[in-house]
Subunit: 340 residues, 2 copies
Amino acid sequence: MMATIREVAARARVSVGTVSNVLSGAVPVSKRLRERVLAVVQELDYQPNQLAQSLKSRQTKMIGMVIRDITHPLFAPMMRGAQDAAWLQNYLLVMLDSDRQLEREQQILAALRTRRVDGILLAATGIEQAHVRAICEAGIPVVCLERELPGLGIDCVIADHFEGARKCVAHLAACGNRSIAFLHGDTSDWIERERFGGYRQGLEDAGVEFDQSLQAGDHSGSDEGYRAAAALLDRRPRPAAILAADATVAAGLLRAVRDRGLRCPHDITIAAFDDPFSCDVLRPRITAVSQPSYHMGSKAMEILLKRIQDPDRRRSTVTLETELHVRESSACSAAGSGAA
Amino acid sequence: MMATIREVAARARVSVGTVSNVLSGAVPVSKRLRERVLAVVQELDYQPNQLAQSLKSRQTKMIGMVIRDITHPLFAPMMRGAQDAAWLQNYLLVMLDSDRQLEREQQILAALRTRRVDGILLAATGIEQAHVRAICEAGIPVVCLERELPGLGIDCVIADHFEGARKCVAHLAACGNRSIAFLHGDTSDWIERERFGGYRQGLEDAGVEFDQSLQAGDHSGSDEGYRAAAALLDRRPRPAAILAADATVAAGLLRAVRDRGLRCPHDITIAAFDDPFSCDVLRPRITAVSQPSYHMGSKAMEILLKRIQDPDRRRSTVTLETELHVRESSACSAAGSGAA
DNA sequence: CTGAAAGCGCTTACAG
DNA sequence: CTGAAAGCGCTTACAG
């Protein structure tokens, strides 16, 4: 169906080597032959078979990106960033969705390996598992997104959750909120712990004493968040502000606020991580600390491509700043009612 | 770095053919040799090079899916559906995002072609362009999602927008709404015209005369929707219900409703296409006619794989039913206040 | 400048 | 059952 280099060569009455030389440009070819070859290429709509090229050159110019959950809004910009950075250097980014299933993730990694992708970007789940180790040991460069990986000696790109939380608390405090509660998500997660650490730092910076009774929750999930938020909201005196540690508990928080007929920010100030409600039509819009997803994706790709160039490069972890989006849910005169 | 079949053969003291036979299972191999081979395979963590396999077998077991805008919520379930259907038949689905840029789409298609994917799923933009034709002529099976393609003779999977609109209007009418307005999106788009057609059919079914003054708008976009919706809302008497033709004008509609302090569904009933605000925390939740994205993806993949098996198969267009999600924005006693 | 040949890592008839 | 050989579609020294 598709023309091969041999057919092109035959039709142009040259050797296949010459066709290859014309196309690659690596070796000079006389104008006469070059034009004859190009004419035939055009005529046959010849496209070199990259499989064969890759077999020789030992590179596929293809990067795989494994996404834990393609429906999660965090990842769309990340994929964009990675893809844009890949194009700049003539790599094709292929995206795979593991749907939070470890087994699928494993199959995907195996499939990428057997197809000899030049590198892999991991925004996945089971990143500490043996199958990732196998990939690394097979010599395929890997860059991990979102969290650091212990032991595998691979590059990572993460967001500065600690500092993000600190900045957010500073903002809340600057608005005059003294009793600032923390609505926990999954407390066993590194990211959550960083955020909590930054929260405490923020309190300290603001000269507010940490109050154990202003903490609630220890699991992710909208219902979990709802229950924990209810406990905080029903406390007397009610906290002035609540910082939700992840998007799922923030959703629960919002429901709890509404169920009580509380108005935000009038009765309660709210902020959350991960910009949970990208939904523009929601009112009030929620103040959020978001990860720089696009930048994380592009940065990770840049690092990956550098490592492909130079496998002995020093391993690095890049920490990128989060962004604080001040919106109506924490509006106050001190900070401006900044609707972005 | 990665072991080759030759190294395995040498180490197991057999021929490469024998290794291949053991691994493929196509030809019986004595137990003794098989075990020796498998032991070495294990020891070296040998993974066959799919590039070489594909070169021989002329199939890559890889399907490419081109997505117009990976950030658009419509596509996530579609990708999931396609991926699940692909795995079932041992194909790897790779997803590519064209970011609504025709040039990028073109590059992606070229990249997929040169990598000899076995088939392509298209949820793209410039599908009438020459570069798609080139793909088809190169003999790569293509299935198109969302809308039919003229002339190329390829399979398509689309949603029944006409019937979706008709059902929705039937619901609105059953709730007692007589004056049902239509907020147009991009009137040059086939999908929009289908929806409008279904709307008119629905009115007719309900015995309501079509009223030209209950139409507004002719472009997509939140601001465009806002303006057109404002015109409808400021009309006296105000329409009882408004059906928004796409997600962007629906967003504008919502803003216009709020700006006027109108309460929904008390003052006005609202419904929209494409389930625009997946955002669970939005109140009221909006009644919506959604495309069966997951099913569209899986169906398209099934058709594609069938065509790969049998290139001479009869061309088909599959039309799938939309889903009507009745929610608070159109709550009424007649239809139940059905929060799904 | 141009062509013949070897080789990338596999699979698959074909002998033995 | 097993191995030697040809071939998938390319690229790249190496002669000429």
